[in-house]
């Protein structure tokens, strides 16, 4: 049967979208709906699973199969679904609190098992649905409803956490760059294994402007580093800055002043775990002097077997060894006797 030609509209449900006006979630929803028809998937084979939080309302707005589960558990629900229905395209929508606070355990275990699913992690560095408490990604000093004197919780660097949990695909993008967001969504879908997409998302009600240095025109070029495979790390208002490696130490250089040619710069390689580790740790406070720009794009990708495939192999191997299960044999066991 020929695949139905779908349009973004086919992924829109009849439900009113209930995010706050101006929320970054709208843009992400729009880009996901835009990208979906291009992925070559049948709508009925797509499942969106979420936990709890603002972002987790997402499935209600996607006209696919979907489940709005409970706080922090979307990753675990998705694991069970993917283990038993590997042919489905499974998308997890989660937030910084949902995935790294209450659901931190399931996130790391999903990553190490490497189920072939996509995680859209909306990071807004705040609890929105509970009305403004600090989150596990809020910076130290964050004044929020529950931290009037400033947060004393040291934040997670989500991508460093995920790399530590043996993630096989790590990317960062943002709500306010639709073109980049769509490109990363497609890359995530292509990756065989768990794709972790950290999406910077502005909560204009409780944490407005958390990422504006990366998203606003006036500062974006200087603060955001868009990496591309096999290309040197170059950034700056006029592309005048680069990063080179001095041993394992990254150094920001001025291409005009320091007399460094682009060939001498760090060339991005998604497959290089050591480089990815350094890149992911460009996470210092942009207000500080001598800081690094925040990297966006696909930072790391590796190929590793997926849990569901290994499971299917074992199932096939068991059948090859013992034959299809015979229920009568199982009921009888090895030590039966008969009374006549």
């Amino acid at each position: 049967m020929e695949a139905t030609k779908l349009t973004p509209k086919d992924f829109v449900t009849d439900q009113d979208v209930r995010w706050c006006p101006g929320c970054g979630d709208y843009s992400i929803l729009k880009q996901v709906q835009t990208v979906m028809p291009e992925l070559g998937l049948e709508r009925e084979n797509i499942v969106f699973i979420s936990g709890i939080g603002c972002s987790s309302r997402f499935p209600y707005y996607m006209d696919t199969y979907g489940m709005h589960s409970i706080h922090g558990r979307a990753t675990a629900v998705a694991s069970g679904l993917k283990a038993t229905r590997p042919e489905l395209s499974v998308w997890i929508v989660t937030g910084d609190g949902d995935s790294m606070s209450i659901g931190g355990n399931h996130l790391i275990h999903l990553l190490r098992r490497n189920f072939d699913v996509n995680i859209l992690l909306f990071n807004n560095e705040i609890y929105g649905l509970t009305k403004g408490q600090y989150s596990p990604t809020s910076p130290v000093g964050k004044v929020a409803k529950s931290t009037p004197m400033g947060s004393i919780d040291y934040p997670f660097n989500p991508l460093a956490l995920c790399l530590g949990a043996s993630s096989t695909f790590l990317a960062r993008t943002m709500d306010r760059d639709p073109v980049h967001l769509r490109e990363i969504l497609k890359r995530g879908n292509t990756h065989k294994g768990t794709s972790l997409l950290e999406i910077y998302q502005n909560c204009n009600v409780f944490n407005d402007g958390a990422f504006e240095v990366f998203t606003e025109k006036s500062t974006k070029k200087a603060e955001a580093l868009f990496v591309q495979q096999d290309k040197p790390l170059i950034f700056g208002a006029n592309g005048e800055k680069g990063i080179k490696l001095d041993g394992l130490k990254p150094v920001v250089v001025d291409l005009n002043a320091d007399g460094v040619s682009p060939d001498e710069l760090w060339i991005h390689d998604e497959k290089d775990k050591t480089k990815a580790t350094i890149l992911i740790n460009f996470f210092d406070d942009p207000a500080k002097e001598g800081h690094f720009p925040r990297p966006f794009g696909v930072l790391y990708e590796e190929m590793r077997f997926c849990y569901e495939d290994a499971l299917a192999l074992q199932m096939a191997e068991a059948i090859a060894l013992k034959g299809e299960g015979d229920l009568d044999k199982l009921l009888k066991g090895n030590n039966a006797w008969t009374i006549n």
Binding site: E44, G80, G325
Partner: protein
């Protein structure tokens, strides 16, 4: 000269260090007796620690087995034979030995060190001080005899000592005149790759057997004839094993893939071990990172059209509570197994209790009814978990299956069914029958109030489900006051309606009406049945009914309860079923409760029944 006595039934208790291979010895004797045709009931009793300090009372592992030529329903209140590998084993179990009973003791386990560890006062050795005079004591240096029969085998002393349990088993086989064949077969299979261990163990067992013939102080041999059992094919089965096989059978019968997700916990883990061997039946087992992931991944599997099952014991079930609520909001099939143990909190991990009934019935936020069934005996685990699966799928609901440590590890002969004899289970995945322009309504219900199971991959039925209250029929989010009340009542009525699809309650034994009805549930079945039978033999008017369906109750239960003057409800908890019965039927039932981590004895139940019968005599 050895003499042979004939006995109707015998209780043997094997006891020693948890590293002594006591459970294996007990299981082997059980299988051999079962193959011979005895009726059997067993009860292993082991410490929480895998290898508690050697020789201490805390480290005593026991295996009690009751076999006979008559109907056997319990592991027995007290033992006829106590086989102990060390002083601690004797001290911990002597009170359970009948007067005049037989003690077989490994004398090497009664040296100064072991006596000290067992906390006997200095200089006191019970084997030598006459304190055991009212028993028949056979003090044998099993360690020395085992080592000498294995001399020259090339095994280290430590390895030789591991065969001591086989020497004991051989001796007990001799006492009851049993064949060693099935154990020899077992050893060959178990140590396939270590033929030297097969040889050593068989040699030790044979040495034990022949020792019986040559022993200086003659031992009595006993004959326990085969029981008269119904015609048919039997096997020996433990509760957890029966649970595992029941799940496989249900999935196979439904044509669904079984997805069993769990986190290791005593005493439920053996179900996982058993199921993980049956991948060729399409069984997928998933050892999740925690209890919550176990149940939520099972929910994910059910959403995908598989038979999602999770299992745990009380503490783990507590962690799953929120997700059970999700499953009932989603109205998806899910089987939740609770192999109960002593609580609360970590409680008594290796001991038994039936104190999670109220947790199963009510332990969730909001109005959250689910179906609950319970097994009465090890083999009943098969039937009731099968029923749990049937109800889950046919009524689109989470179902609790309650077992407990006693029947989970206990064993009995089971007249197993043929696959073709098992009840059919109807799985109807939703099909797209929508008219053009018609929207799919995932929460539309049939006359059982059950919604359809529309699974991903079904074109045109794309829909969203979730834990937020949903509008009737459409399933859209709804916070409307009237709708919420309607949905709460619909979910309750859906569970209540299951009563139309389960068997009516029957009286297990005794008169259909009369003075006293003993109403039980779960693993108390064997001891209540035996006690009620004995009470009737004494002339008392006692009936016994045993509940397997606890939510909803069978439709005729209320009517049955009205047919007796008094209702007695024995439970291994502080009174849980009784609360529900009083609440639902407004009946002044009486409780009889034991919360000691061990099952009721027949004697204490019979005493209670007799006391009550005396009181209600006109």
């Amino acid at each position: 000269m050895t003499k042979t006595e004939i006995k109707n039934d015998v209780v043997i208790l094997f006891a020693g260090d948890s590293g002594d291979g006591i459970q294996l010895t007990g299981t082997q004797f059980t299988n051999t007796a079962a193959l011979y045709g005895n009726d059997i009931s067993t009860f292993p009793n082991f410490p929480a620690e895998i290898r508690a300090p050697q020789g201490t009372l805390a480290g005593v592992s026991g295996f009690q087995l009751h076999f006979g030529s008559v109907e056997i329903l319990t592991p027995g209140d007290a033992s006829d034979v106590l086989v102990v590998m060390n002083a601690a084993g004797l001290k911990a179990n002597l009170s359970q030995l009948k007067e005049g009973g037989i003690i077989v003791a490994n004398s090497e386990g009664f040296d100064a060190k072991n006596l000290g560890l067992a906390k006997y006062p200095e200089g006191v050795n019970p084997l030598q001080n006459g304190s055991l005079d009212k028993y028949k004591v056979h003090s044998i240096d099993i360690t020395k005899l085992t080592r000498s029969c294995l001399a020259g085998s090339g095994l280290s002393t430590k390895e030789m000592d591991r065969s001591r349990n086989m020497f004991v088993l051989g001796l007990v086989y001799w006492m009851y005149n049993r064949s060693m064949d099935s154990t020899i077969e077992y050893l060959k299979e178990q140590f396939k790759k270590r033929p030297e261990l097969v040889e050593a163990n068989v040699k030790a067992m044979k040495a034990g057997y022949h020792f019986g013939d040559t022993i200086e102080a003659p031992m009595t041999r006993y004959e326990v004839k085969a029981a008269v059992q119904e015609r048919g094919s039997y096997r020996n089965i433990m509760g957890n094993q029966a649970t595992a096989i029941g799940l496989v059978a249900a999935a196979k019968k439904m044509g669904l893939q079984l997805f069993y997700a769990t986190y290791p916990i005593t005493p439920a883990s053996d179900i996982l071990h058993e199921l993980s061997k049956h991948k060729n039946f399409g069984v997928k087992t998933f050892q999740a990172e925690d209890e919550i992931a176990a149940i939520t991944s099972a929910i994910g599997a059910s959403f995908g059209g598989n038979l999602g099952v999770t299992a745990s014991s009380g503490p783990g079930i507590a962690l799953k509570g929120e997700a059970i609520g999700l499953a009932l909001m989603l109205e998806l099939p899910l089987v939740i197994i609770n192999v109960q143990r002593g609580g609360p909190s970590t409680g008594l991990p290796t001991k038994t209790e039936q104190a999670d009934l109220l947790q199963a019935l009510y332990g969730r936020n909001g109005e959250a009814p689910v179906a609950v069934v319970a097994a009465s005996t090890p083999s009943d685990c098969f039937h009731m978990v099968y029923e749990a699966c049937r109800i889950a799928v046919e009524h689109m609901t989470p179902v609790f299956f309650l077992s407990d440590g006693y029947i989970a590890n206990g064993a009995e002969p089971w007249k197993f069914p043929l696959a073709a004899e098992l009840k059919d289970i109807h799985v109807n995945f939703a099909k797209n029958t929508l008219q053009p322009g018609e929207k799919y309504r995932p929460y539309k219900r049939d006359d059982k109030l059950v919604r359809e199971w529309a699974i991903p991959g079904t074109k045109g039925l794309e829909h969203r489900v979730g834990g937020i209250e949903k509008e009737n029929e459409t399933g859209n989010i709804s916070y409307e006051p009237e709708n919420h009340e309607l949905m709460v009542k619909l979910r309750q009525s859906k569970i209540d309606k299951i009563a139309d699809y389960i068997p009516l309650q029957e009286i297990d034994s005794g008169p259909e009406s009369g003075k006293l009805l003993v109403l039980g549930w779960g693993s108390t079945y064997g001891s209540i049945k035996t006690a009620a039978k004995e009470a009737r033999l004494d002339g008392w008017d006692v009936a016994h009914a045993h509940l397997q369906y606890l939510n909803p109750f069978p439709k005729n239960l209320g009517a049955i309860l009205l047919k007796y003057d008094r209702i007695l409800i024995p439970e291994m908890n502080n009174g849980q079923l009784i609360k529900v019965i009083r609440d639902k039927y407004f009946i002044d039932a009486m409780g009889f409760n034991k919360i000691k981590g061990v099952p009721f004895t027949t004697a204490e139940l019979k005493k209670k029944m007799t006391e009550l019968s005396v009181k209600i005599r006109p």
